[in-house]
């Protein structure tokens, strides 16, 4: 049931692609083929629902029902620890009415599975669970089986039903025929039927239930294969030598400095890429440490202490208006009250527990890469460019990694292993050091955000003005930019870059709000549509994108975490200025019913006390307690969440203790309630870590937060808040993502609770005790 559970890596080569071709030629089967193309009439209604991969008219994937009533299915959406393997098995079993144990699901292997682009947290679920792809292929197959059974049982399809791998007559369930018997030795090749009907959620037996994750027994007993445990015969070990400073270029490698060291296979240099290969991993580490490499320093890094001001002054900016009603300055001038504030968010890192690892076997005419990349087909394309091979000669086999939360080092280390293997002609395993992982990964973007809002005499918001500066460099490599991560750049490829553009042209396209750049409370009118979730008509959303000194890329709730911190903290500041209850004030300015609903549900579950913030009568010494709320429609169309935080602030030490997190979430129909809860709980605590502790630091030349002493988080042995969640099920709605909703709302909920407790607003992440103390010291004396 779990592919490649204990098998060696070589064995994995044989099981998918080759077997599939042979299977298509030989076996009797009912096969539904679907290409990774968008089908006419199936245009995605959600931005995240698209297949995200490259279209192809070729047969890209299929599901098959075999003569022994098994189901074989293939998916391009991978298990990253978020439970998607189990949920997809549930989907297949549900739509086909077979037990879970009859489903064999193969994930993310360029030799076997469809190109479904990237498996990113929020996009993974919609792609296969709505009206296309895997869900529709299963529905097509089930309807075909019912038609076949109709002849066999001499009964019209409407009188038939399916259960437990068989079709039966509803009025007489003893008259039944197993799927395998319908297939027999014959071959049925079907194409996707866009009119096939998925099961109604009301009829679900497996979907919608908390099926325990199928992989956890293997994980807790150390039987699951991770990319870190892949062993290939003849495999040797590589270690990379990164530059000592950002932007440095290679001057000289003194190979004599390591000559004769035990186990040395080769020193590898390609442009600015330097690595060593040795027989044993410890030998590789020792050789890499001893190798004398001279570098030419790059330009000095901008000082961290003044970095946010530096961003504002940077002229090389790409400016974009997402919204501009054209009247913002007049509306603000006419407002009774204007509120303004600036929010700051540092670079964050993914900080995977396991430093990234990959195994590559690059031989003439055939390269195989075992990789924890989230994007096997894009990886195939960019690795092929890096290696100078045609893409067809590269196979990428997704193999589980340490939780990535976005683009950690998994892609770059795959390039490392590939380059080294190509040079030595043997399979090479590379696992990055902690420093190489943390100092060179693609960080989540820093942001500085100015907000202004106007209130009229009745305490209603009449204008909202957002202006942000954020740096970026590189990102996901996609299909053609290996330079978007450090290894590709060292090997001579440039990061993709957007050309500077000032001033921004007026907005012409309807608001998608994919990055939650627009607040929830504006009407969002642009390009002839008003797609916002709120009521404020005078609106301006202006973004300045600068060049980052560090590589950046998607980190769980990328940019949405930063923007939502600023929007939902600021909404709280406006509510306080209007002396309004934060929940009521939000509901008053929202016009999206589902978003209003989760706000009310979270407040109700938290026994929200209706009153303005801050709480009155709190002493200015000792512990102060408060509550705060935050909400967002994730990506503008991909999951509704509201979160209440309850905190205690020690006003002497400045330490914030989050005591309780209570959320409500509506992500459409729920495939696996416990899986959603696990994601919500983890996301909420991950968000707490980022809000209270995490910050990338650097000096004049290099990242200094390159281990767990320098980059702070909290251990398993830490008392964490209770996390409660109200799951709002919407069976009739489209499936949304559930992996990045909770985290998006956390920072503002905590900051708003601190304000409620102390009357002090925190506008810079992380909320360190020093910052809290400084903010408390700035309170006006009564």
């Amino acid at each position: 049931m779990i592919p490649r559970l204990t098998s060696g890596a070589r064995h994995a080569l044989g099981d998918a692609g080759l077997a599939r071709r042979r299977f298509l030629q030989q076996s009797g089967a009912l096969i539904v083929a679907f290409g990774a193309a968008r089908y006419a009439g199936l245009e995605p209604r959600l931005s995240a629902q698209g297949i995200n991969g490259r279209s192809s008219t070729a047969l890209d994937s299929w599901i098959a029902i075999t003569p022994d009533s098994r189901v074989l299915a293939y998916t391009g959406k991978c298990e990253l620890g978020q439970g998607l393997f189990t949920a997809q098995v549930q989907l297949v079993a549900e739509e086909l009415d077979v037990p879970l144990s009859r489903v064999t699901l193969t994930m993310c292997d360029t030799a076997a599975t469809p190109d479904q682009g990237t498996t990113s947290g929020a996009q993974s679920h919609p792609a296969n669970f709505n009206y296309a792809n895997l869900a529709l292929a299963c529905a097509t197959a089930r309807e075909a089986l019912v038609r076949l059974a109709s002849e066999r049982l001499s009964s019209p399809p409407a009188d038939l039903a399916t259960a437990d791998g068989a079709v039966f007559v509803k009025a007489d369930p003893t008259r039944r025929v197993a799927y395998g018997d319908l297939v027999g030795g014959r071959k049925f090749m079907l194409t996707l039927d866009t009119a096939a009907r998925r099961k109604r959620p009301a009829d679900w037996k497996l979907l919608g239930t908390s099926v325990p994750r199928l992989d956890i027994p293997a994980m807790v007993t150390a039987q699951l294969e991770y990319v870190h445990t892949v062993r290939v015969p003849g495999m040797v070990h590589g270690q990379v030598v990164r530059p000592p400073s950002v932007g440095a270029t290679l001057a000289k490698v003194d190979e004599a400095s390591v000559r004769g060291m035990p186990g040395l296979v080769r020193v590898v240099v390609r442009k600015n890429f330097v690595g060593v290969v040795a027989e044993k991993p410890f030998q590789a580490a020792q050789i890499a440490a001893k190798l004398q490499v001279s570098w030419t320093a790059g330009p000095a890094l901008p000082p961290q202490a003044t970095y946010y001001d530096h961003l504002r002054r940077d002229a090389a900016s790409r400016d974009t208006y997402l919204l501009d009603s054209g009247d913002i300055d007049q509306t603000l001038r006419a407002a009774r009250t204007v509120v303004s504030a600036t929010y700051r968010h540092p670079f964050h890192m993914h900080g995977s527990v396991g430093s990234s690892c990959a195994v590559a076997d690059v031989q003439p005419g055939q390269a195989t890469l075992w990789s924890a990349t989230q994007a096997v087909f894009p990886m195939r394309a960019t690795a092929a460019r890096l290696l100078g091979l045609p893409a067809e000669q590269v196979r990428v086999v997704f193999t589980r990694g340490s939780g990535c939360y976005g683009i950690n080092g998994a892609d770059t280390v795959t390039y490392d292993a590939a380059l080294l293997s190509q040079e030595v002609g043997r399979p090479v395993r590379v696992q990055l050091t902690r420093r190489d992982e943390m100092a060179w990964e693609n960080f989540g973007n820093a942001f500085v955000i100015d907000q202004r809002a106007g209130l009229d005499a009745s305490g209603t918001i009449v204008a909202w003005d957002y202006e942000a500066w954020s740096p970026a460099l590189g990102g996901r490599p996609g299909y053609d930019s290996p330079g978007n991560v450090v290894t590709g750049w060292l090997a001579g490829f440039a990061p993709a870059a957007a050309a500077p553009r000032t001033p921004a042209p007026p907005p012409t396209t309807p608001l998608g709000n994919n990055l939650n750049t627009a607040p929830s409370y504006v009407t969002g009118c642009a390009g002839g549509a008003c797609n916002g979730t709120g009521t404020v008509r005078s609106e301006r959303v202006l973004s300045h994108r600068l060049v980052s000194p560090f590589f950046t890329g998607p980190l769980r709730a990328p940019e949405r975490f930063q923007n939502t911190f600023a929007h939902e903290s600021f909404m709280d500041e406006i509510a306080a200025a209007a002396k309004a209850d934060p929940v009521a004030f939000r509901v008053k300015h929202l016009r999206d019913e589902r978003l209003r609903h989760v706000v009310r549900q979270a407040a109700s579950a938290a026994q929200w006390e209706t009153r303005p913030s801050p709480r009155t009568g709190t002493s200015r010494t000792g512990a102060a307690r408060g509550r705060g709320i935050s909400c967002v429609l994730y990506e503008g169309d991909n999951g509704y969440v509201a979160l209440v935080a309850e905190v205690a602030v020690d006003q002497t030490t400045g330490v914030i203790t989050v005591q309780r997190l209570v959320g409500a979430q509506d992500c459409g129909p729920i495939s696996n309630p416990d899986g959603v809860k696990n994601q919500f709980e983890g996301g909420a605590l991950h968000g707490m870590s980022r809000t209270l502790f995490e910050e990338v630091t650097w000096n004049h030349e290099a990242v200094t937060s390159a281990d767990w002493r320098g980059y702070r988080t909290f251990a398993v042995g830490t008392r964490t808040p209770v996390v409660e969640i109200v799951l709002v099920s919407q069976p009739a709605a489209e499936a949304n993502g559930a992996g990045e909703t909770a985290i998006t709302a956390v920072a503002a909920a905590i900051g708003n609770a601190v304000f409620d407790a102390t009357g002090t607003r925190l506008r810079e992440i992380p909320f360190t005790p020093e910052r809290v103390k400084a903010a408390l010291a700035g309170r006006r004396t009564a």
Binding site: L80, G81, G83, D215, I216, P217, A218, M219, V220, T221, A222, Q223, L224, E225, Y226, H228, T229, R231, H237, P262, K280, P281, F282, Q283, H350, G351, S352, V353, G354, S355, C357, G401, S402, G403, Y405, Q431, T433, R434, D674, N678, Q679, E681, G682, G683, A684, L685, H686, S689, D707, W708, R709, T713, A715, V716, G717, T718, R719, T720, V722, V723
Partner: protein, 154 residues
Amino acid sequence: MQVTLLVNGRTHTVDADPATPLLFVLSDDLALKGPKFGCGLGQCGACTVIVRGQAIRSCITPVEAAQNTEITTLDGLGSIDRPHPIQQAFIDEQATQCGFCLSGVILGAKALVDRTPAPTDDDIDRALSGVLCRCFAHNRMRRAIHRYAASRRA
């Protein structure tokens, strides 16, 4: 030099530089899947093994110091068909996401409960103060540890 290790009840002799971190020998020479390289600095716990009843960090333990003593890795506790009760508790609570940290969490908790059969939350805090889980399955993990301790007392 020749190094003899007693791992999960079996004796292995390997040829290794005596300064090699124990982790590299376990995961590379012996191909065990439980202990994993997380940081190489003793800061995260992913490489944890149990030696003399203590959960130790194999990434900063030289292999020569681990000779002639029983070493238990996550692989050695139970199997998929017959998981150890603490592994079963983690299954019952669905107390993981990516699973990379589990050697540190499960073996750290097992070593604790072996010497403190009824651990308090303070005990758990101390035992797992050096173990990181970046999926933040913290609350489930704590429930699983209490469940295991309770089942052991029953």
